[in-house]
Symmetry: C2
Subunit: 257 residues, 2 copies
């Protein structure tokens, strides 16, 4: 199973702490030796790092861990290949432009028969089910809305409808973002928590590391972290239900259904 990690925050925040835990699952404590990738939004721009190498050996992972890139929206993925060979073009997160925004997408699961769904505007570069599903979802959004709907919730409901349709093909845990909003859909495994004042101490499950967020933050910070499995052992994570979709903006939950 692949590992997903997402973050939505109201101030640019680094993800070094959570990333340290996740990276251990990429070859040391976990079986995810087939590459990893991360998308950091910075305004409307996006910084992408993709590496088909195991993340615990990766020089680019070292850079990401030590350089502490700060972002308000982050999507990260560690891959265990099940469909599609191990190569750069099959490495999540995938990305496409829609409405002048760069959308990114990372998926955990399999979708049997996804390639029978025909594609119009967006075509996969690699051979994964995941990229096909992403292209199909953006196609459907584009066909339905030539520009962003006035009420954002109209789009969220539509994305939820598409997610339910694809969930019928298999396991569909994913993270999706257009820079401003972070969508998380649960097939079978996805948990999240929001950290806000008063901040406390957090201890990683996968590494001997703790952080006191009180020292790292200012009182107004709101930071939501989403992961396949909880990353810390002394905080309360909300386990998502099957077919549940949540949407975050600036770290705050703005849709849950």
């Amino acid at each position: 199973m692949c590992e997903l990690l997402g973050m939505s925050a109201n101030v640019p925040t680094d993800i070094c702490f959570s990333f340290t835990g996740l990276m251990q699952r990429g070859g040391r404590t976990g079986p995810h030796r087939d590459g990893w990738g991360v998308a950091f939004y910075e305004g409307k721009g996006i910084r992408l790092f993709h590496d088909p190498q195991p993340s615990s050996d990766s020089k680019i992972a070292d850079l990401v861990q030590t350089y502490s890139i700060k972002s308000k929206t982050i999507i990260c993925h560690i891959r265990q290949a099940n469909r599609g060979r191990v190569c750069l073009e099959n490495t999540h997160p995938f990305y496409r432009e829609l409405w002048g925004k760069t959308w990114s997408f990372a998926h955990n699961g399999q979708l049997k028969g996804i390639k029978k769904k025909s594609l119009e505007f967006y075509k996969p570069v690699g051979t994964t089910d995941s990229e096909w599903a992403f292209c199909w979802m953006l196609d459907q959004i584009r066909l339905r809305f030539s520009k962003p709907p006035r009420q954002p919730e109209t789009l969220w409901r539509f994305v939820h409808k598409l997610s339910r349709e694809l969930s019928e093909l298999g396991v569909f845990n994913y993270l999706l973002s257009d820079a401003r909003y972070l969508f998380a859909h649960c097939g079978n495994h996805l948990s999240w928590l929001t950290r806000r004042a008063p901040f406390g101490n957090a201890q990683l499950i996968d590494a001997e590391m703790a952080v006191n967020f009180h020292e790292e933050t200012t009182p107004g910070d709101i930071v939501t972290v989403i992961a396949t499995k909880p990353l810390t052992k002394n905080e309360t994570w909300k386990k998502m239900a099957s077919n549940e979709l949540v949407v975050f903006e600036e770290g705050e939950l703005c849709y849950q259904a």
Copy 2:
């Protein structure tokens, strides 16, 4: 003026030597303090690095220089902002998917009135003339060809026609690639050279650095480098003419008009 650097080769080749020369122009010997970016193709995949920071101070530039990523097709750009503020989404190379390939594009010049040209499928994320021009070219290609034309030269001629049209708006030096082919169009400044056996010695203009390619290569290697201005002082660079388009595949010139 921005600096462009492109490479097309028949074996995965690093660009450390040329990049070292170019990076010096990003803040030390040159006035290009407004960011830089590079696209390395690896098969159909692409590795993108974008940094709005001056390249001579950039930690990501250090990584690219020392990690020696090998690729058969590379596009690199150092920016001096003239239109559009300095931020990640305005940093070249820009990239979009067409026909299941990731196209990338870097531009040097200004195009007066480009934003009067209407866009259909592709919309800019940032505010530069360059990204608008790229979106417009891909739009035109997509409108004309629903899939890649059987004869590649049909596409090259069409791209040349589009390039002439945009050249009427100003200065249009650019590099464009779909992973396999590297296109280079000259507005006013672009030079290239092809290195092949017997390989010799090359000396950078912008740094005290020389390399003996005989020691770094095998006899079958073919490597073409394209740059705004020649990067070495003891090799013969071909200076391109205004409105000239060249296309390379595996380091070999396959179109020139």
